[in-house]
Amino acid sequence: MIDLLAFAAEVGDAEPVTITGLGTRGGAVPDVRVVRAPAGIDWVQADEMTVCCGAGTPVDELVTELAAYRQTVALPAGGTVGGALAVGRADARQLGWGPVRDALLQARYVSAAGEVVKAGGPTVKNVSGFDVCRLLVGSHGTLGFIGEVILRTRPLARHSQWFHRADVHDPSDVFTTLYRPVSVLWNGSAVWVLLEGHPDDVAEQAAVASLVACEGPPALPTGSRRLVPPAQVPLLTGGFVAELGVGVVHHAEASDAAVRPERAQVLDHTVRQALDPSGRLNPGR
């Protein structure tokens, strides 16, 4: 267990405060006092498929450490563990590896009142109490500053390979032919597929779907990252790369902020206010 008392004291219990890691996902709120979460891996339990680390630990450092146990973690590369969780956006392997929210088992965070609070528990299966962990993921630090986490790890696949197929104007056939692909990307005219598993299974799957091995996925457009119902993906037009089955679409063009139903927005606000009444944590996020 990492000692979070110093971190909690730094966060304090009054005045606005912001947190940053490596600054890769937006960094600190401007003109607000900045704190950083502790870094470092506390333990790896390969036979439990769990790891405990400080939220300030770089994701890449964690992935390198876990590789020694032939395991990895379903967080997007770059930045810190805390940043990846606070933003809550998975990378293009979400279809096979699951959303970021499913990787977090337990968090110890510093609340708006400056207290160290525990959410969740150390085991993969756990329904003890309400799921505050899933609220923290994607909360951009507005509910609490994560100090230490226990994450679920996953075994590294025996074999992993990207494939490509051109002239695919309806990606549904490729998508439904494959058994649990890790990623299926489509840009309106071609698909890229990541397959993992036994090398012979990967080769057979690729052959059935007429896929050709390639170096990797295409560069993802960075204009905007939109969410659409997966059923609407085949209808998309313009410059985009879509994650099939998942509904994440990377567009070349910027987009207006998503419109959410009013009642959901109100509830969102009520939850934020319940955990941070004065709105001092990462104000404006």
Binding site: G121, P199, P230
Partner: protein
Amino acid sequence: MNEALLAELRAALTPARVRTGATELGLYRRDASNIEGSAGVVCFPRTTEEVQACVRACVRHEVPFVPRGSGTGLAGGATPLDHAVVIALTKMDRVLSVDAVNRSAWVEPGVLNLDLTRQVAHLGLHFAPDPSSQQSCSIGGNVANNSGGPHCLADGVTTSHILAAEVVLTDGSVVVLGSEAWETHGLDLRGAFVGSEGMFGIATKLCVRLTQNAPAVTTMLMDFESVDAGAHTVSAIIADGMVPAALEMMDQLCIQAVEAYIHAGLPTDAAAVLLVEVAGLPHGVAADAARIVEIGTAHGARSVRIAQDEAERALLWKGRKTAFGAIARIKPNYYLHDTVVPRRALPDVLRQVYEVVERHDLLVLNVFHAGDGNLHPLLVFDKREPGVMARVHAAGEEIVRISVEAGGVLSGEHGIGLEKRDYMPLMFAPADLAAQAAVRRAFDPTGLANPSKVLPSPAGCGDLQHVPEGAWV
């Protein structure tokens, strides 16, 4: 019962679906736990609007309500207290739409877990969470408890299979939490709602993920001369980088009870058996199965029985899933626990469980999700025996404490409900519980949605004298 409230409910739902007869009230005063409460009235809405009407009427009259599915919960989560209004969702049981390409479906909360899987079987799909009660439990109940099941080891528990929920909140409004896309803008309110045990609102529609059926499946049974050898095999399989589709264990007393019941040819002299299932594409399944046999043998497996066909596979699973029926042959009553411990702690915790049970002069059968470290010690007894209940209570409390002290948690899949409410302070500090209570208040400021469950009252915090009558922890 409040006559004005009754009149409003009858007007909204028709009198036939608002029941106050002694038979109904008797049936609905408890779930599958042994904790009895008291229902004031039982309502059977058919639509979201009718659920809204029920909730609005309850809130207007400040009467608590309890959402209920099939009532298979084991923690008293659906037990109504103080003549609460029971809102039974069993008549909302339609599969509304299925997207076979993107593998999702919109369903009403009363759809039964196994019925959903049956209805999408022709598409080569299934709903992954598979509690042992899957023939009778509802999807809405699975959401309320964030239920598990043997196949959650590889595929994750219910929350990983719920994309969105249409929810009636206590202000009577309807909100959709989450979306068909796997991520959402704003907070993951969907994630908070799953597992909220009916205390955040009532789900009236759910968007579930459906999972592809595996092209290849190998199911095997390994038997061991000691429970420790079986438990070490479990850890070794996971540490080797494999996540079997299921990894279940039964101990000797359980094996003997099951064998006497289903005659599957189980080794009744074994101290423990492991039921291991590997699923996926054929080459990977073959490689994993071979490696698991090697690991089991290296840890002292006396024999490995690999199911040769679907019939034998079904028979092996029948042994696992009917264990609770089989135990009735030993004693008429049982009490089932549901704690989770780190896999590495399994041998030690099981040893302590046996000691506790022996000291209290009880019998225990262990049948559990070993791969998840999810223990299900079944204390069997005859409640007519004088003084036995006190011993069952005492043994249960010790088992919960041992599990938490070993680095585990209070509940793996049954939930907290009333049963473990006053044990929450074993796992959570006051600040942790305050955060959970704050989230609850944000969803339900009235406090009328299934009150008195999950969170210990501040006065009772850490005070184990406040366990409700009939609650066996």
